[in-house]
Amino acid sequence: MVTHDSGGHHHPPTSFIRKYIFSTDHKVIGLQYYFLALFSVFLGMALSMLMRIHLVWPSAKMPFTPGGQMTPEQYLALMTMHGSIMVFMVLTTAPQSGFGNYALPIQIGAEDMAFPVLNMLSFWTTLLSLIVLVSAFFVNGGAPISGWTAYPPLSALGQIAGPGQGAGQTLWVVGVAIFCIGSLLGALNFITTTVDLRAKGMTLGRMPLTVWAWLVTAILGLLAFGVLLAACLLLLLDRIAGTSFFIPGGLVVTDTPIVSHTGGSPLLWQHLFWFFGHPEVYIAILPGMGVASHVLSTFSRKPVFGYKAMVGALGAIGFLGFCVWGHHMFISGMSPYSAFAFSLLTMTIGVPSAIKTFNWLGTLWGGRIQFTTAMMFGLGFVSLFVTGGLSGLFLAQPSIDLYLHDTYFVVAHFHLIMGVAAIFGIFAATYFWFPKMFGRMLNETIGKVHFWFTFVGVYSIFMPMHFLGLAGHPRRYADTTGVNFLGPLHSVHYFITLAAMITISAQLIFLFNFFYSMKAGQKASENPWNATTLEWSIPSPPPFDNFAGRIPVVYRGPYEFSVPGATDDYIPQHLTPERVGKAH
């Protein structure tokens, strides 16, 4: 472990551009990621709203469909872009690159990330990938229609496979590949920073669980995005250079024989993609687990229950996450023996997940709970993790997955566990760290209204989708009214769409609170939550190099709440033993 020498080589930049645009300050970069995610999540939600409206009122006129109703390919393009934007630009950026960038260096007592310039570069790479991805809407043929999973041959054949599969799909592949590069750079930076830049006394066993979560996530990112990058490059070659990694020979597409490709395997893509795809779920959710542990402990005024088990569970989930990709392929014709292996491994993940859940309950047990908005979103996260996780047990059973795979049951499952749970983690983190980031408090009353709308809203949207799936409703259906088997389910769709409208509108409450409080919120003190970790030992917002040149020394673990004998019910990590018990 290297302690940071605090020589005078850090000077705050003075020009606006160096300070806010091409900044190398981890806090500014963290916020840039956050705003990128904020933009993306509203874009993604707007797309989902159009989809929901189309599913219920197929003949509704939409702003971008001059003269008529939405075509199936427009629905499918929306679906593909909604999924891709949400997964890559929201769930991978905000929890990890956003909050991780902002808080991780401060929490371990570092002045910045290990490679500040690289950090800036990762952000700009990510922004570029967003631009490339979104530009797919505006090219000839429109956005791609092959879903966020982009299974070949559909995604590999080009224009002939459908509208949007030409230039749009190419832009998608390029955009995702660029995104992988940005994420790889970021992951490297996170790992190096955590390993090398911890302040004196910040042993591994004293790292906040948030830091552990970001570290494990970075390791997952390093392994997973490399694979996705390779897969994207191969797919790109298939598309533009005439190779056949994923295209088998002898295809006849819309009565045109494809003679230029032979010998590829479409299953190869599925293996590569899900080798990335399953860990990606954990990349989205682990930071949320870290935040939930942190927030639950702070607002129960109690240490985290079973700190070591929590770290172990993070590691176990991360490791097992790489061993289960096959559960996405039970119905792709794999041998029953490999299906068994993947099924067993998948259920094994249930064990560390159960450990985390019960330890969260243990943290609440006997605490003195303060119902701040951050705490409520933390509890909401736990609830979503439970409901979304338990439905995973169904899908882990190949015999049941045979029925449920690619139905709305899966849509419900992944929205709860990866989508909304991660979003709740983001909200918990936002309400928790906002005072630090902007020096003002978010309005708690508006916050609670926002919480209840969102909490009730997401359950009303996604719970009924389980029933659609059980009734056999396949996913990715642009048209549900034409199929008479699905007729009786129409009222469920109707309800979901109404719930989605209300929930999405309610997010404007958040937006208002966010920008209003940023300007006019109540001024925040250094440590408004009486929390223990290092970011609460410095002014809000923190100065340019975080500790004004005085790197703190850490004397104790991260969750020393309500220690018997101390005057205050919390002891900050940097407090020297002599000062414990005195006012501070």
Binding site: P72, L76, Y151, P153, L154, L157, A161, G162, P163, G249, G250, L251, V252, P257, V259, S265, L267, S300, P303, G306, I331, S332, G333, P336, A339, F340, L344, M347, A354, I355, F358, G362, L364, G366, G367, R368, I369, Q370, L379, V382, S383, V386, L390, F394, A396, Q397, S399, I400, L402, Y403, H405, D406, P474, R476, T480, V483, F485, F561, S562, P564
Partner: protein, 298 residues
């Protein structure tokens, strides 16, 4: 399988209820009533932690064993199942009966008879999904997958495509008509095809000139195909393969990849000359040679 499902549902409800109840109970019991209030000295409980590691592990093993046994049964078609051949393409299903009847987006089958589907795709990946039969399987280009089911009640059941395949994915639907044995026999008669699949295959076999090399008496340039289907084949490099549908398909499309000892690799590829449906017919013909006798030609 539905029992496993209901068991899981019960388990899920139980745990959801347990956890939510605990959260609410703790939320109320332990809410902070004043600024000064402190929690009692912290408990950490090892037995408690061990118990919530051990109990989920046991449940997990139990579920796995139950699920595994079910899945294994589902993966193995019973002997003597009726065979149907499926070719998916954007955006329709082509189905063939061994007796030669061909259907589009519709399949007629008798009740209480196990049916095994052998499936492939002409273009992208599709998936043959009949919710009422609790089964689905991807249909991939360039290879065969299979699934089986046994309908227990006559009626009309929905067929979906469940693997996303492009613009009209949601329109790639159909029906499975399950009929009583007498109705089915009647249907077969009404729709009697002039030629069974094997006969169509035999015609192709002659038309494409396969019979110039694959002679029944062994005097041709290629191996005798009579009585060969389903047997073990040893390739030149010593590899042992079973001659099944996938093997036969590959032998027709890419014979060079399956060189046999004692034969010169003279068989040309038929890629581009035969459609997936025709390949299935050729396979049906070669299968019909299985007994070693020639098929009953009308």
């Amino acid at each position: 399988m539905d029992h496993l499902y209901f068991f899981l549902t019960g388990l899920t409800l139980f745990f959801t209820f347990l956890i939510f109840a605990t959260i609410f109970y703790f939320m109320i019991k332990y809410r902070r009533r004043s600024e000064q209030e402190r929690p009692p000295a912290t408990q950490q409980s090892l037995p408690l932690e061990i118990s919530w590691i051990a109990i989920p592990s046991l449940i997990c093993v139990f579920l796995f064993l139950w699920g595994a046994s079910l899945f294994f049964a589902a993966a193995r078609p019973p002997q003597g199942a009726m065979e149907i051949f499926v070719v998916g393409k954007q955006w329709m299903w082509h189905l063939q009966h061994p007796e030669g009847q061909r259907e589009i987006n519709q399949l007629h089958i008798p009740v209480d008879v196990p049916v095994r589907l052998t499936m492939t795709s002409e273009d992208v990946i599709h998936d043959f999904f009949v919710p009422a039969f609790r089964m689905k399987m991807d249909v991939l280009p360039g290879r065969y997958t299979s699934e089986w089911f046994q309908a227990t009640k006559p009626g009309s059941y929905h067929l979906f495509c469940a693997q996303y395949c492009g613009t009209l994915h949601s329109g790639m639907t159909g029906t499975i008509e399950v009929m009583t044995p007498t109705d089915y026999a009647q249907w077969l008669r009404d729709n009697a095809s002039t030629r069974s699949m094997a006969e169509s295959g035999q015609e192709l076999f002659t038309r494409l000139g396969c019979d110039t090399c694959h002679l029944a008496d062994g005097s041709g340039a290629g191996p005798v195909l009579q009585g060969r289907f389903g047997k073990q084949v040893t390739l030149r490099d010593g590899q042992n393969l079973a001659m099944d549908e996938a093997y036969t398909r590959q032998a027709i499309l890419d014979p060079a990849s399956l060189p046999l000892p004692n034969y010169r690799p003279v068989m040309p590829t038929f890629r581009g000359q035969v459609s997936e449906e025709q390949i299935l017919q050729l396979i049906a013909y070669i299968k019909s040679l299985g007994s070693g006798e020639r098929t009953q030609v009308p």
